[in-house]
Subunit: 413 residues, 2 copies
């Protein structure tokens, strides 16, 4: 007899995608200490926090230094001052009404999209688009919902919804019944979006089948085109079937500062074995109050500053900066003859790798020959094989130089 581990962990792939990239880059740098590596790989921002955020953070730090204004534990769900502004700026402005206790502030969408599966039963069937952000899959593997990894790189209890150039990255409704559907739009990694008419199909499917949609809108702030929904709640009936995740990471440069939020409308239901409906809002609230202690007061104050006239302006400038990078990458790749997707409503550019090369080979080639780091498509799922992700989060100079270096590589094929 001995204490047992959660053996589902042994079913995970070797390592988290970005850890593997980090390992290869570190090895390259060791071999080439003088090479200047440009990373357009991991989706991490590089511009400083907006001025309004910095000022608000300083004020909050000062509050923590005085007994009169010091803050201890805050509400696990987040402070009202932030929740009210989120509702007003991110939802009411688009005609969506939310109650304050339907919004949960957290320290990141990775945590929230990773933890949300805890409130669901172990036997649910999970559907993910393919390619997909690895966290959705890995956290379900850990929970025992994924089954075993087969030779094609798929888990045998997960339903994969291929998204590729052939279907213009629009997933088809699954043939079999699924319970938990992860959708991310604007999409990571492909940078593509779903028009309202397509998103409506999913909401209708979920209502009909009593399924749940886990809607990751972390890149919402990058949407430029009309008819691209900013929130799933723009679709009629979505409040009955969808949980939405949003983040300050890419909106306001918070990847190292840590703040995000999750919307769980009170109408969204899950069901017991006996068929009783249970509000997921209640379960998530219980999960968060039991296992989480709220986001740093200082950080929440910083996040709140983006919801001011100044803050909004500065956030728009930040996003414009990255989207100008995206245009440079898109344009450069098109000039080089690549088939290119995304980069219009998202900071991600998804390119088709020349025939006959796999995506880790392409990764190594770019790293070794151009000293440019991207992300191999297959790291996001089997249907990502043959594709490669570049991100618009570098500096303007690095982005330009990376594209110049790629252009200087002659032998792509």
């Amino acid at each position: 007899m001995a204490v047992r581990i959660n053996e589902n962990y042994l079913k995970l792939r070797g390592s988290y995608l970005f850890a593997e990239i980090g390992r290869r880059v570190a090895a390259f740098k060791q071999r080439n200490p003088h090479a200047r590596v440009i990373s357009l790989g991991i989706g991490d921002v590089t511009r400083p926090l907006p001025r309004a955020v910095i000022e608000s953070l300083h004020q909050a730090v000062d509050e923590m230094g005085r007994v009169e204004t010091f803050k201890g534990y805050g509400p696990e769900q987040g402070y009202d001052f932030l929740i009210k502004r989120i509702i007003e700026y991110d939802y009411r402005s688009r005609g969506i009404e939310l109650e304050e206790d339907e919004v949960f502030i957290s320290d990141g969408s990775k945590c929230d999209t990773g933890n949300i599966q805890e409130i669901f039963g172990a036997d649910n069937i999970v559907a993910v688009t393919d390619p997909v952000y690895p966290v959705y899959v890995d956290t379900n593997v850990m929970a025992g919902r994924a089954g075993n990894l087969d030779e094609s790189g798929k888990y045998d209890r997960i339903v994969y919804l291929p998204c590729n150039a052939e279907n213009n990255f629009i997933p088809e409704l699954p043939k079999q019944r699924v319970d938990m559907i992860y959708l991310c739009y604007p999409n990571n990694p492909t940078g593509m979006t779903l028009p309202k008419s397509e998103l409506k199909k999913w909401v209708d499917y979920a209502r009909e089948n009593k399924s749940i949609i886990l809607y990751d809108a972390a890149y919402e702030a990058y949407i430029r085109e009309e008819d691209v929904p900013h929130s799933i709640y723009e679709i009629e009936g979505a409040k009955e079937v969808a949980i939405e995740f949003r983040s300050f990471s890419k909106t306001a440069g918070f990847t190292g500062t840590r703040c995000a939020y999750t919307v769980v409308p009170k109408k969204v239901m899950g069901y017991t074995q006996r068929g009783e409906a249970v509000p997921l809002n209640r379960l998530w609230n219980r999960r968060q109050t039991t296992k989480f202690n709220g986001v740093s007061y200082i950080v929440q104050r910083g996040a709140a500053a983006i919801y001011t006239e100044e803050g909004q302006k500065q956030v728009r400038e930040l996003i414009d900066y990255y989207m100008a990078n995206a245009a440079i990458i898109r344009q450069g790749l098109l000039e080089m003859g690549f088939q290119v997707f995304g980069g219009i409503n998202a900071p991600y550019i998804w390119l088709k790798i020349p025939e006959g090369m796999d995506s880790w080979t392409f990764f190594d080639k770019l790293l070794n020959e151009a000293h440019v780091v991207g992300t191999p498509g297959v790291g996001f799922g089997p249907s990502g094989e043959g594709y490669f992700r570049l991100t618009a989060f570098g500096s303007r100079e690095d982005t330009r130089e990376a594209i110049e270096r790629l252009k200087a590589m002659k032998n792509f094929c």
Copy 2:
């Protein structure tokens, strides 16, 4: 067919203890809008952050505002600059050597002690002291390890280790085999400690039975007496069987700032069904890299500042302040004739309620008659019935006034 919830959540008690306290206090305040309620209930600090921390936070905020020093994603496990100092100040100083990848920075011990069970098998038998910090039990209920709640307020698959005045709050080794043992010393809620000789019994038990000890040392900084272990790793062999949790919350006033850490030595093993040993360090690393994105850079910089000469001095002053409160509470209660425990190596005072009164009745009585909030012992488990927790985290003035108000209440029995 419908998406299923995790029905283990329905086995939880009505609400998280402190949420229930909050509810009763809010109701009281509504009925008595002019009453000045003093809370010695929830274990939340009230003194401002130390000056060294404030300065370090300001510097870090400024770094985030400049492109040259901006920080995006950090290591999920935390920054080296903080980990190195933790090892040096909190462990090496006591003769304990740790490697850097054995320390994981997090946003709170509540999160860590709540999440740690994820890496363990669902069939393990959990042992907790009784009374106990509710998070250990509730997170195992959610994971399906606890069984069902019986009439005595116990879950039928959890092994409870009673701690009460009769055994001087020293738990006995369990008669049956247990796999996961939660120990918290200095103890929340009782404020009591375990001498080295007693802790050694647990380490020996765990080594003999291939069990794991989850050792919560969040209140380590409050230890004043000799022979009280500061870390479980002071006990020989503990690195093979123990995971230790520490927090900046009570050490440096970080309850609203959020930083903690967990030590998972590489020698600590869990086992597969087939008996293979798997390092828990690897599993926890995978859990954290998959579901967590690190603590705010700003906050980690703030935490690092306590490991300086100035910072150490300021933290000692902070703890001295609270421990002077503890002495006032202890002394006051003793003068009133209560049997009192804790408050010597911990900021918690655990008092025996007069015979014939239950702990929620005592809670309501204190709230209604003295406008003082404490925590009913039964909220921490069945063996907590008949006891009541007061905390030393108030201001000096409030602490003194609370004791005066209690003294003014004549009819305790």
